[in-house]
Amino acid sequence: MTMINTFDRRVIETRYPELLHRTRWQRFGAPLVIIGTLIYVLYAVWFFNLPKLVGEARWDRFAINLLQWVSYDVQPQFRVKDNGSIDIRYPRFSVLGDDPKQPDWIRTEADGSYTVDMAGGVHIGRDATVVKAHGASVTIRTAGTVPAVVGAPPSWVSVGPDNVQVDLGLSGRLSIDANRVKVVKRFFGWPNFLFDPTSPYFGKSTGEVVSLLVSGERLDPSQSNLSLAFDNFWNNLTWQHGDVLTKLFQTVIMAFLGTLLGAVVAFPLAFLAARNITPNGLLNSGLKRFFDFMRAVDMLIWGLFLTRAFGPGPLSGSGAIFLMEIGSLGKLYAEALENIDNKPREGIRSVGASPIAIQRFGVLPQVMPVFAGQTLYQWESNIRGATIIGAIGAGGIGLKIWEAMRTNDNWQNVAYMVVLLLIVVYVFDMISNRLRSAIVGEKML
């Protein structure tokens, strides 16, 4: 950047002294604020003991956790029986269903041993398991009382006292005991999204399902195939589509009801609270403190109280949003009313209109677009808020998300609900932006 020289500087200094001679606050204010902020951040870092906690954090879990959002695993167990044959079992609630037929990624060899399609190939025999991965081949003897690795184990094989763990990265892992191999094979995608293993449609290809739906024999004599399919989908055990969608709907309803009721109550109160509309200082400041109170008590506290009073559910959630929204909208409405142009009111009063008519024709047309815009905005932001207070029992999808997260196992369900919620938030964002620009015009508030 071009700089001025000393001579120019002198000239400018004599001409515009206020530009170069600044007050002490102007000179030192910014550095002081920055230093103060820095000191505070250091204090907070010490307060929360952040370096230790972040150092101890299991960041490797982060990847696994995110992986669980979009993947699932199948866990067949290979057990060598006394007569030398190997049988395969699946744990209960396996995504393949109870007693599944052998999937095509497990191959039976001629001698009764099995090969699993993982990494470079896992061969499970009577006496030993051979794992080919990362360009190496490792043999683990399973015939003795304790599994033993032949040769030096590579870094991805960890040997315990009576167990050998093999980490195959994205494709899964093995846990090898004497005479038993537990395979955890990872697949991408959301399994059984449409039909769970208890459904008669489970495991059928799309073509088969469509042909059954269109012209098949009734699988269940009491209802048509279509209604059976819908029933199976809606009550899917893993994904609980019916419950999730109902709860999502409850969240939207909670936000709608709370905001609308809040707007209806705040509307007349704001006229009484606005200095220029109701010239009564006591009433004005009393109502404004009331708005502050309702806002300060907050959705959370209202939610906790109402859940105790009415029991958990969307009614309590709507009530919490309603009570807080009286404060928020009342404050916003009153501020908008205090900023109106006085001339239309004077004009209408000068022709002898009644007080109500003055408000209707002199005030309302000025503030209505602002009111509508703010109310829509609050509705949209309350959808997000309703999600959180749902988690304390106030109804809606929040509690469902919270429960799924707490098991630390159902991250796919969390992902599913988050995706639904994001879609809802985006759609409402769009609708409210459209409505707002239709009401207010292109000029944003």
Binding site: F48, A57, N65, V418
Partner: protein
């Protein structure tokens, strides 16, 4: 209002204007009526739906609405102060409802911080730290999203999508995700609120930045300023007061958010409040409510005062 007694005879063209005007107003009224009817139907429907889906129903529970408040009234009103300042209560019978003195956090010798003040400080620190960090990340992201600062559409698109995603993503899930990685407690809440703050502030900030006066920028560019110098000397001085006041507004929101996330397992005062209410500890609940309420009011007033100093009587209509 007095209306003219006789209807004046209108010219042909004027009458056309009048009929056209009547047509538009009547169609507008029709839309208003339809809108109100739709809202009313939606309202009645959702009230019924919410009532049916709730565990207890409104009219059935209404007579008992204040029953549940009975536990809130303490046996001894002085217990509220004792609970707040961790003084031993004469009612202490060893149960958790009256074990006020047990929560003292000794700092130095006999000097202690009462438990609830310590929790309140934790919640406030979560809010302040995450507002500061979120602000620091939101500013560069907002400059990258602003059309008048960043000419590259690819960078702009990326930065805006990041903002939108972080804003729309539920804080609750961020908190749960980080709780699985870090230990449970306040730190996952900090990360969750930081991420949400980046998104919310980033979006507000780039709208402010896009509305700046570009003349100072032209001036800096004309003397050969680089992009960073243009931002530093032309854009930043115009927007900084606004950015900081939106940051302060965000702080008010974040104090509430950190209380809520605390209530669902993030530590701090929210968790204590939830436990006190669900177990029906009257004096403890009142003490917590009093403290929380006064803190929120104080933060709101302080931030309003600072904002007024920064930008004058500027209105913040779209607060959240």
């Amino acid at each position: 209002m007095s209306v003219a007694q006789t209807e004046p005879v209108l010219k042909e063209t004027t009458r056309e204007i009048v009929t056209a005007w009547e047509r538009t107003t009547s169609s507008r009224r029709l839309y208003t009526v339809i809108g109100i009817i739709l809202i009313a139907i939606g309202f009645v429907g959702s009230v019924q739906y919410a009532d049916e889906a709730n565990a207890g129903h409104f009219f059935e529970r209404l007579p008992h609405l204040f029953d549940f408040l009975q536990w809130l009234i303490p046996n001894d009103w002085n217990d509220v102060w004792r609970a707040l300042f961790d003084r031993a209560s004469p009612l202490d019978n060893g149960s958790e409802a009256y074990d006020f003195a047990a929560g003292r956090v000794y700092v130095w010798g006999d000097f202690y911080i009462p438990e609830y003040f310590e929790l309140m400080i934790t919640t406030l620190n979560i809010a302040i730290l995450s507002t500061i960090v979120g602000f620091l990340f939101a500013v560069p992201l907002a400059f990258m999203s602003a059309r008048n600062i960043t000419p590259s559409p690819a960078i702009r698109f990326g930065a805006r999508r990041i903002c939108e995603f972080l804003r729309a993503f539920p804080e609750l899930v961020f908190a749960g995700l980080f709780a699985a990685i870090l230990s449970a407690g306040p730190v996952p809440a900090i990360f969750a609120i930081i991420l949400h703050t980046i998104g919310a502030l980033g979006k507000l900030f780039y709208e402010i930045i896009e509305n700046i006066d570009m003349k100072p920028d032209e001036g800096v560019r004309s003397v050969g300023g680089t992009r960073l110098e243009r931002i530093r000397f032309a854009a930043l001085p115009q927007v900084l007061p606004n950015l900081i006041s939106y940051g302060l507004l965000r702080l008010e929101i974040n104090v509430r958010a950190s209380t809520i996330i605390g209530a669902v397992g993030g530590g701090g005062i929210g968790e204590e409040l939830r436990l006190a209410i669900s177990r029906g500890f009257g004096a403890k609940t009142l003490a917590l409510l009093l403290l929380l309420f006064l803190t929120i009011i104080a933060v709101d007033q302080l931030s309003a005062w600072m904002r007024k100093k920064l930008v004058g009587e500027h209105q913040f209509l779209l607060a959240h």
